[in-house]
Assembly symmetry: C2
Homo-oligomer: 122 residues x 2
Amino acid sequence: MSKQEIVLTPVPGAGCCAPISDTALDPAGAAEGAVVFKALADPIRLRLFSIITSAGDEVCVCDLTPQFDVSGPTISHHLKVLREAGLVDCERRGTWVYYWPVPERLQWIAGLLAVPETTSAH
Amino acid sequence: MSKQEIVLTPVPGAGCCAPISDTALDPAGAAEGAVVFKALADPIRLRLFSIITSAGDEVCVCDLTPQFDVSGPTISHHLKVLREAGLVDCERRGTWVYYWPVPERLQWIAGLLAVPETTSAH
């Protein structure tokens, strides 16, 4: 769609343009989503999350910690934030804790990032 | 995959488990991604972003502002943060500024959230 072809339909009494889609997040959904994105808005947490999602299997915390220049307790704190945001889940087995992503949560987020075809031509 | 079927292959000299995928974000990518997620980690910005992506067309700022209980300049500030994070782009035409999502950026983020099939059975 070129700039010249854009037609914004005036709606009487409704401002200058056509009504906006009602499929957008409502304030409650936006508040929930903001918490999830805040959990990912830290370089260490995002790398932890990326390692866990890209591993193709669950990941032992013993394999996460050595990849960062911060302490084990700091890594544990960041993993707790990811877990509380519903992005990962974990289970302790023996000495170690194992982490895996929560697909339902990631699909929910991915839905927020989906762009309708009609806007992709800019 | 049940818990009982999980086999973590020991690798000599490499900790307790199999090597982790090298497709995860590196520190530079994580730093860039964290900036993008920080832009989405605010309820007003996330709602603005959701309205823009779900509209199916570009959105006039004149249709965004009335949906929020904050001032026009505050909305403009939040839109600027989204734009600087590469999530939306805009163009002024006459009195109004029009916003649309940047599909390439959203696809990059969606890639970070993709979960391999093998981890989806938890």
